[in-house]
Symmetry: C2
Subunit: 443 residues, 2 copies
Amino acid sequence: MKILARAAALSALFLSTAAIAQTAPDVAWDITADLTTEIGARPAGSEQEAKARDWAVKRLTALGFRNVRVEPFTVTGFVRGAETAELTAPYPHKLHVTALGYSAPTPKGGLKAELVYFPNLDALKAAPEGSLKGKIAFIDHAMTRTQDGSSYGPYGAARRQGPGIAASKGASGVVIRSIGTDMHRNPHTGATSWPAGTAAIPAGAVSLPDAELIARIARTGKPMTMTLVLEGKAQPDMPSGNVIAELPGRDPSLPPILIACHLDSWDLSTGAFDDAAGCGIITAAALRAQAKGQPLRTIRVLWAGAEEIGVFGGAAYARANAGQPHALAMESDFGADRVWRVRFNLSPANKPLRDKLTAALAPLGIAAGAGKANGGADVTAIIAAQKLAVIDLDQDGTRYFDLHHTPDDTLDKIDRKQLEQNVQAWTVVLEIVANEPGPISPE
Amino acid sequence: MKILARAAALSALFLSTAAIAQTAPDVAWDITADLTTEIGARPAGSEQEAKARDWAVKRLTALGFRNVRVEPFTVTGFVRGAETAELTAPYPHKLHVTALGYSAPTPKGGLKAELVYFPNLDALKAAPEGSLKGKIAFIDHAMTRTQDGSSYGPYGAARRQGPGIAASKGASGVVIRSIGTDMHRNPHTGATSWPAGTAAIPAGAVSLPDAELIARIARTGKPMTMTLVLEGKAQPDMPSGNVIAELPGRDPSLPPILIACHLDSWDLSTGAFDDAAGCGIITAAALRAQAKGQPLRTIRVLWAGAEEIGVFGGAAYARANAGQPHALAMESDFGADRVWRVRFNLSPANKPLRDKLTAALAPLGIAAGAGKANGGADVTAIIAAQKLAVIDLDQDGTRYFDLHHTPDDTLDKIDRKQLEQNVQAWTVVLEIVANEPGPISPE
């Protein structure tokens, strides 16, 4: 009977292990699927973002995380309204437009004005002061896809700085070619900002096919006019918050490993790629890293709020947790496609740790890259404040800017095989760093 | 000097030929680009469709066509209004919806009702009579891409017949998964029809990612409710018309070759694939076929009106031209991608003609396929009325239903290399059939 009992116990253990092996890979998918289905769009400061925090607390608790809590803060959000754009001359065309975050609303009845074409941001910068008075500036650009997403920096400037520059030159409104690499009638939103002393003007983005049409018409030299309706506006003092949870380590005296994603999304989609999947990936990996035995260090998970409109959650986290030392920070906020490269910001003393990580990631098709890891948006503030070590698991961004900030960022875009490779990469890293007994520090 | 003069004349001839070779391929592109840019969306019966007819007359005349004329007729069109759909329970989601052609308008404030999920049209057919009273039916389906477009028949039934079936069972409204193969937030419109004695109800299509979301929620078993706003409605007695033009043949006693496309488009896009490109292809090929010397038979070009909402132009053409015999009919209305197959409806006596065509098309990568050619929508009536011979140059439809009837059907989707192969295929066929001296007849 004893032997049978032991066999039964072993069998139960095997079953349990098998169950973990079978179910663990689904945590990332389940979080992505359930958050996008049960909550959907969750823009910063909205009621839906608040529901997402409640959902997150419940889900992280159910998954066995400890110290699950919300750290609240307030933000100036952006509340979308009606939005339409029509080219009225020389040829009438209804365009697909969306307001940029922090756009000013158009006057009642819409803004009707001449549309002035600029092939890129530099051309706008070169326009004489006051030359855009009463006009709408159109900013084109030639962003193309890159695996590492590096085109977002230079081309994204058309969205981040372009509207402010147009406003400073007297423009009544500004429309940009969406910052994206797809060719669908889905405009890409995203926040813009206004230089001190420059009043906000209506600012929108048209889809890339619409931008191609405008460029084609601009080449004829015929004067263009547009009627623009963008009724969205900024709204101060909206509630947001970070959701934080932990898998406590064996040695609470060691600084924790901080891993982050963001919980909010833009309002145009359910935010599967940006960034439900990131929350799924880091959370699944933390659980798998613990499944082989409790790690030495605590793994702290940060599902940040209000990232999209200005990384308010990251700033709030750094403020609220300034007193607590951290060991290392990482973030997943670049979709759900496979990890292809790892980059580090580790001290020379951590070379053995780095070598161990590089060797462990190689079988997953991940090579160490040159350049220093910088973390993601939501960990930037804490990294800067505490001079933290950083590891970047760089995801393949080839199609990221097809979906980024568009209505198209939906669950169907998730490739489950690539999502699984992601979780495996994160698990490998967490198993190693969370069991590192010595100091972990940056260059 | 004589020799030099002759050399100069030859040189001029070569230059001229070279110029034709260089510029001729652009007729198809220019028509597609200019019609979509200068006119844009041109729904049946609209002012824009009328402008497109004027544009077509001017362009065909400028290209050297003769007997360029408009044959007018009137249609019951569909005028789109505001359209929104929101899932209100169990989880709130804003959906991307568009009304189907001939949808009834929703009541003031929108239609708020329970949403009942049917995995396919057969499941809807099986629903008990009266079981949908006061509800909105949702019809899903599993259409996938096919090269020959054959999936449109069975799956398209959800749009063509589904709303009528739902109405006959008492539904207050109906929403279908767009008939398409893409995964973008762009719904596919298209006409539906109502059985005699069944009053129209509001009928819309949601984008495929939205349909996936509804299906996912339906699987939870939780009751779903929807608020649907579709303000578009049918409008009788709208003006439409066919544009007809000819390249006269050497022997006016021989029946002409009829080649067709349609000039109207759906209102959601500029209709580049559907069907500006078709008009570009047939027109460019007719000119090229003539460039080698005036053909024996007249080539008649039909740019049909009001195809999208019920092939009214094709019916009007058959009525207006019933008295004139035709030799053969062909149509280009399946995008701008390459021709991969040719099919015939030719009599056994025309075997030599068929063999000649097959041999001439083979170098372009086009193989003769089994099955009988049936022409396109706009030539169906004249083919049936006069029992005409038909040749189908089958285009690759692999991505056709990604774009079909969506906002995404824009000029940027045209692949100029494939468009050129299309024009070459049509030219080869027209050169042969327009110079066929003997009778051309069907099986």
